[in-house]
């Protein structure tokens, strides 16, 4: 109890989360550059080197990058359990994850085995350090909190995702014979519907009612949904693995996968319904990003159901669309929206605590102006629509989609670094005073 009690004091220094947040859009820009360079070549199949590179630049370089930074910040606040040696851990994880992601994308694109091997080592180390640190904190956290439970499931799912990913990567790098389609299915379900999805739900239960001023989620949902999804993933995995063995197992896997879709659709529908009842009349940029996220989740669930029960393999366009909805429409939208609350607030709060912070300080809307966030919102929405469109009409839309993705991330990066520069400027003026 003593550790938990002391922990409210130990909010990490601003550099801990910001290094992750300011890096993420750079990976979005890199993904856009790869898409530009490859043109329609990236869109031939989801197994193409370009598609794999872009996918991992977004999932590791953007999603995991921000989620790890946010967890470092949130664990002391929400769970009352700070990460041990948080400065060192964040510095090491940030460098390893950044280099590992670049190497992985480079390894896919170049087909060079040594680059791929380097990537696997760097990423394995990054996740061992991060998962170890996060687990240490989550074990000590108060078990009762709904959000803590979501975080535990999420980080466990990350561990599964990483193991599957390392296995798949090793298969490529060392030419092991592996059941690639099954392993890939497990890797991406645990990653998107486990690590990303469960963290969003667990955190969303807490932050949507509080920061988006909505009524609370139904009690039955907050007490059971994350556990049900986690257990369904556990049951689905062996069924998917052995799906080729009999029709019965195949159908069980499909049924369990549709249940997963149902779980996420329920969360999305509940969130959208709650947002309609928010108390604030003032438009809120985070709420708008979350609406896109939840709409994508619903669309993804419907597409998933449609694809699952088709006898023939889902078409390439359908697979691309599902991936774009899950990674970009859901994951990136929700995270992008949260960044517009977290970053201005962190800047404000750390200015308060510093000697340069005396006198009249800018408020959150002066740190990141609504107008600038609003422009980026429209760029993001265009990028989503164009990417989804490019899945069906690559010749027409591959380049516009890449340009929109790049501009949206460039603008996000400018908005976030603008906030940081304001912070540094005020701090410097305070010290020289």
């Amino acid at each position: 109890m003593a550790t938990a009690a002391l922990s409210l004091e130990q909010a990490p220094p601003i550099s801990v989360p910001l290094r992750f947040f300011l890096t993420a859009p750079l990976f979005g820009i890199t993904a856009a550059l790869v898409l530009l360079a490859l043109g329609t070549g990236a869109w031939t199949t989801r197994w193409s080197a370009g598609a794999l590179a872009v996918t991992h630049l977004m999932t590791l370089g953007f999603l995991a990058m921000v989620m790890i930074g946010a967890l470092m910040q949130m664990l002391p606040v929400v769970a009352g359990a700070p990460v041990a040696r948080v400065r060192a851990v964040s510095r090491v994880v940030h460098v390893l994850l950044s280099l590992g992601t670049l190497a992985l994308a480079g390894g896919f694109l170049s087909g060079k085995v040594p680059v791929l091997r380097l990537a696997l080592v760097l990423l394995a180390l990054a996740f061992i350090v991060f998962i170890g640190a996060a687990a240490g904190s989550l074990v000590r956290a108060r078990a009762a909190a709904v959000t803590v439970r979501g975080m535990r499931y999420s980080v466990t799912a990350l561990a599964v995702t990483v193991c599957m990913g390392l296995l798949l990567g090793s298969g490529l790098a060392w030419h092991w014979p592996l059941a690639v389609p099954e392993l890939t299915a497990l890797h991406l379900f645990w990653g998107l519907l486990g690590w990303v999805g469960l963290l969003v739900i667990g955190v969303g239960f807490q932050v949507v009612p509080m920061f988006q001023t909505t009524p609370p989620y139904p009690r039955i949902m907050t007490s059971h949904l994350t556990r049900l999804i986690f257990v369904t993933l556990l049951l689905w995995s062996p069924a998917k693995w052995f799906a080729g063995h009999s029709l019965l197992v195949h159908d069980s896997a499909a049924t369990l996968a549709s249940l997963l879709g149902l779980g996420y659709a329920l969360f999305a529908a509940a969130t959208l319904a709650l947002q309609r009842r928010r108390r604030r009349e003032m438009p809120d940029i985070t709420v708008r990003f979350w609406r896109i996220g939840m709409a994508s989740l619903l669309a993804g669930a419907v597409l998933g159901w449609a694809g699952l029960w088709e006898s023939k393999a889902a078409s390439t366009s359908l697979e691309f669309t599902w991936g774009i909805l899950a990674i970009f429409g859901f994951g990136v939208s929700v995270i992008n929206g949260m960044l517009y609350k977290i970053v201005p607030f962190l800047v404000w709060v750390h200015l308060q605590a510093n000697p340069g912070g005396r006198g009249k300080l800018p408020n959150m809307k002066e740190i990141v102006p609504d107008r600038r966030a609003g422009i980026q919102f429209w760029l993001h929405l265009s990028a989503l629509l164009l990417l989804a469109g490019a899945a069906w009409m690559p010749r027409l839309l591959a380049y516009p989609a890449a340009v929109a993705l790049g501009s949206s991330n460039l603008f996000l990066w400018a908005n976030l670094t603008g906030a940081y520069r304001l912070y540094a400027r005020i701090l410097a003026s305070g010290i020289s005073r």
């Binding site: 109890m1 009690a5 959000t147 404000w348």
Partner: protein, 150 residues
């Protein structure tokens, strides 16, 4: 239902949230006269909540756990930060500065909610556990002896 600091003070948070949104919505609509009154109601309720915590809960918690430099110190510090923002909101209403009010209220909402989150997730449950037997009596003092309205 058993007496609980968590339930009592969390419910008070929700009541303050309602008042906060009423004031902000009225400013958003340019309804300055009503906004002035709503802001006053919000400030009354919130300052009262702060004082109840600072007068009764924090000292009891510190006495029982021996942690004067622990979580209560941070909660106290955040109360101070919010008191500064309260002044900004009052000035913005006087000056009818809609843009600045909405920026200050966004900042206050975020500060307030992450503060409530910490209290509801960590401090109140810890207090209920640490103060166990004293809770009913403490709650009674909090309800009855809340300091006079400012």
């Amino acid at each position: 239902m058993a007496d609980s600091i968590y339930i009592e003070l969390s419910m008070d948070h929700r009541r303050c949230d309602e008042l906060f949104s009423a004031a902000e919505n009225q400013v958003h609509r340019g309804d300055w006269i009503d906004a002035e009154k709503s802001l006053r109601d919000f400030l009354d309720a919130t300052l009262r909540h702060f004082e109840v915590e600072e007068t009764f809960l924090f000292p009891a918690f510190e006495a029982r756990t021996g942690q004067a430099m622990g979580p209560t110190r941070i909660m106290h510090l955040e109360h101070q930060q919010m008191r500064v923002l309260f002044k900004d909101l009052g000035q913005d209403i006087e000056r009818r500065d809609r843009g600045h009010y909405l920026g200050s209220s966004e900042t206050l909402l975020t500060l307030l909610q992450q503060h409530n989150l910490k209290e509801e997730q960590v401090l109140y449950p810890l207090s209920d556990r640490a103060l166990a037997g004293e809770v009913p009596e403490l709650l009674q003092r909090m309800r009855a002896g809340g300091p006079p309205r400012p």
